[in-house]
Structure formats: C-alpha cells, structure tokens
Amino acid sequence: MPSPRTTDGEVLRPGWGYASVTAKIAGLVLSRPVRWPWLAAFLATLAMTLVYLGAMTWLFIKGVGIWGINIPVGWGFAIANFVWWVGIGHAGTFISAVLLLLRQKWRTSINRFAEAMTLFAAGMAGLFPILHLGRPWFAYWLAPYPDHMNLWPQWRSPLVWDVFAIATYLIVSALFWYLGMLPDLATMRDRARTRGKQVAYGLLALGWRGEARHWARHETAYLLLAGLATPLVVSVHSVVAMDFAVGNTPGFHSTIFPPYFVAGALFSGFAMVLTIAIPLRRAFQLQDFITEVHLDHAAKVLLATGWIVAYGYLVENFMAFFSGDRFEIAMTVDRWTGFYAPVYWAMLACNVLLPQVLWWRAARRNTLLLFVLSIFINLGMWMERFMIVAQSTSHDFMPSSWGLFIPTRWDWIFLAGSIGMFAWLFLVFIWLLPAISISEMRELVKEERDEPRPPARGSSHRSVQHGGSDGRA
C-alpha cells in the first residue's frame, strides 16, 4: 500500500497497463458478482421509481391541484426541481467538453459517469415542466409544426426558448456520450463471454473495430461535439435564467441571473459529481483511477463556483436597495425575515459558509467530509431554487395578493421520486455500461508511461504486478 504522499499530482496511480485497465473497468460490468448493498440500493430506488410513476398517474388523473400551488405561487416545487435538475445536469458536459478542450487530464476517469449523470439529471428536469402543465396531454403544442389551428409557439417567450435549449442539450449530450462510448462498447463485445451479451454489445458498438482512420474521424467529431457543447452548456442555464429574469416579478427581474444561474449550475453539478464519485470509487475499488487528485480538483471548482454564486447573492441584495424599487426592497427584507427566512439563511449556510472549509487542503482530501459537504451543497442549491421560485412570487407587488406556498405530501413525493428515479437510472447505467472510459484510460496509461517518472516510486515492481498481465490470458 503506497503512502498517500506518493499519489500527489497523479490522475492514475502507477502500475496499470492497457490490459489491466480494460479488465478492471469491463469487469465491473461483465463479471462483478451481485452483492447485497448494490441489490438493496437497486430495489429501493426501483421502488421509489415506481412510486414516482404512480404519483405521476395520480397527477394526470387529478391535476396539479394535488400540489400546494395556487395563486400567487403558481410555480412551486415542480419548477424549483426543474431548475435544480437542469443545474445538476451541467457538470457532466462541462467536465466532458470544456475540460477536454482545456486538455485537463483529470477529466478522463470521471467524464463517462458525469455525462451519464447529465443525461439522467436533464431527463428528470425535462419531465417537470410537462408534469407542471395544466393540460399535459397538450405538451406537443410546444413543438413548432403547421397545425389545424394555424397556431405557432410564441418565439418571443423564454419558455419556448427553454424547450429548444433543453431538447438540444439532451440530444447533444446523448450524441456526445454515445460517440465517446462506441469504442468501449466494442471492448465489451470482445470481452463478453455469453452470446446474449456479445450480440447486445455488438449491436450497440455498430461494428467498431478500431481502425486508424476511424479513430481519427472519431477524435475529430468528438472534439467538434465538445466545441459545440461548450457554448451550449452556457446557453441552457442562461435561457432557464431568462424564464425568470424576463418576467417583472421582484426577485426574478435581474440581469445578474444568467451568469449567476450558470455558476450555480456548475456548483450544484460538481457537488453531485462528488456525491456520486465518492461512493462509486469506494464500492468498486476505483481509488487508483479516481484519485484524491480528482476529488481535490473538483473541490477547487466547487470553491470557485461557490464564490461566484455568493457574488450573485450579494449583487441581488445590493441591487434591490441600490435600485430604490420598493417592491424589490420589500421582497428582499421578506427573504431575510419573512416566512421563508429559515430557508434563506440555511441556503446561505450551505452554499456560502460551509464550502469555505475547502480552502484547506486536508479538507479537500478528506473523502467523508467532501461527501457530506456535497450533500449539503445539493441541498443548499435546491433551497436556492425554491427561494427564487416560491418566495419571490409569494411576495410580489400588492400586499392584498401576497400568499404562501405550503408544500403538500405530493410535492415531497415528486421531489423524492425524481431523486429515486435518477439514482435508479444511474445504477442501471453502472450495471450495464462501462462507468469509466476504457479507451481514454488506455491513452492515459500510454501518456503516463511516456512521461519520465522519478525512479524512487517503486513503480517498476508494481508495473509487473498489474501490467505484467498484458499477455493473452
């Protein structure tokens, strides 16, 4: 067991070869025995998913009245959940695309599951606006098509921009994910021992055989998709922010919203990456691939984006008073002292106060602390979304039209149900598909080998231990 010191600055611990990396990651899918903790988690999240589907059915029968929403708070949990999930869905593409273009080596072992997280989070997000429609069976009216009524979507509405932004984001993320996974699916096809798996992975791999020109085209297209996804990431949450900022409600109507939402998205997304990565590396002994360096870097991103979010809070408060707008001021004072004030102060504690512990290196390398902190940040970011959506509308212009939103049990079921379904989809993903990009890990093995290493690491005998299995067996 090497001392923790030797892993400083390493994104892959020494001693891994092409074959052992392949065997380890593919083996997680192909030959991992089913153990009870995984099975328990799988069944529990499956149960939550079924409850969620049942709740949706009841919602479609009864209508949105089962939630606590009413005028003036017409948006409630559904839209807060929507914004929260979209935000979480941002880190995956950020890690995959932006860090790829910036040639950050540490993205390699976390990009695949972060992209999966993105897809599932964006999927959860995409459901909520549809669930929230008064007449969800008319959801297709959002699509522009020449219809019998001669009606078109209102192109000047950010809600229509949102449909395009979220749909584009989901599709491009899926293409990016699948294209990156194609060589790994071929690996799974060639490693699988049963006919059924060979056929299934073989069909998904589309006959990928790793020819040099194929790799060149693959790499070109992958980089292009990364370049396209980068502005897309920024645009999606900016558009979501404009859903609010274009309205004139106090608490919504602010030009800081798009950058503040994008920073908040990365903040909550990286928190979710840590929430997933820490149990994942522990459960599947991936500490050699997802090292302390990855956690440390992600924690630094959290700290940086956390400060941008804190700046957003500051500017919001400052502008309320600087503008002299009495409605903005009244809304801000209500945030501090009103009915939802505990949520506001808890949000500040979770999103601004607690992350400051990350200034210390010891904290950034303490996995348990990071895990707990990431949960608090997820919670804090959800409370932020809730504050923006519910508190702002509860306290707008006329005192006579103020009113509170109290969540019903159905509101909580929908929030918990979406979390359960997200976790279940993620468990299905790590059950069936390689959670780390195998072909990119091989490239990393190659790069690490080519780099001159200080000799006193004892890496030579370790390379015999793992890399020595590069033979046929």
Partner: protein, 179 residues
Amino acid sequence: MVARDPRWALMAEYDSAEALVAAAQAARDAGYRQAEAYAPYAIDGLAEALGARRSRIPAFTLVGGIVGGLVGYFLQWYAAVVSYPEEIGARPLHSWPMFVPVTFEMTILLAAFTAFFAALLGNGLPRLAHPVFDAPDFDLATRNRFFLCLLTDDPAFDEPEAVALLDSTAPIRRDEVAR
C-alpha cells in the same frame, strides 16, 4: 483478369503503439495505399502514417451548423411574420433579437447531428460483419494489441514482399485474414 485472392489481407500483430506506427510508416513507404491499422485507442499520427487525408468532418459540421441556423431563423420569421402575424402594441413583427436563442440552439443541434453522422458514415459504420473479426487474436484489438493489415487488393500487394515487410517490423505474430 486473375481470380481474386481468397484472402482479404495479411495481418501482423504488435504489442506497442510505437511498433505499429513504425510498421504503418514502413508499409506506406513501400507503396501500400490501402493498409489498415487497428489500435485499442486513438494513437497520434497513426492515420497520417497510413496516408489518411485531412478529414472533411469539420467542413461538413460548419455547413450543418449554418443550415441549422438558417432553418431555425426562417422557422421563426415565417411563423411570426407571415403565417401568424400578431400585433402587440405596434411592436415590430420581425423582432430579430428575440429570435437569437432558438436560432443558436438550432445551429448547435444541426451541427452536432452532422458531426456525429459524418463520423459514423465516414467510417462506414454500422458494419457488423468484417473480415478482421474472424482473424486470430483480433478480440485483443479492443484491449492491448495493435494490428497492421496489408490488403491483398492493394495494387502494391506482392505476397513475398508483403511477408518480408511484415516480418521486418518484428511483429509478435503474423496471420492471414480470410475474406
């Protein structure tokens, strides 16, 4: 016209990327234009060593993006100005700044589809059956081994020379690949 060679290619297997790149370069230098190389990850310079041309995928993607943007803008302009003009407080029907977000999203969407399908179709995928899949050891091409194939259809192919060329690159084994 002589009968077609029943073999698809001669194949050599290597255990390092450097050996494969060197062998690919040697094949290229010997006049082979249809040599194929297989590797478990993207190796810098391998496609160039085989003489691959510059990819046209970026150009296609640019065209796809432009078409997507134009379609997106036209869609909004047509709907808002021609098909369903809606006057709200004498504001202009052709309110182009409000059309920017959807135009942008459509640009990205079409460009991404083009890049994705250009890469797939350029690679001739999906293609589930291929002679190399029946070659011995080829399942290791997605694990830790590197392969070079000299195609019998290549005008430069000459059996004794090809065998000598492959053997001179010190492969760990050499095989024949049936069609």
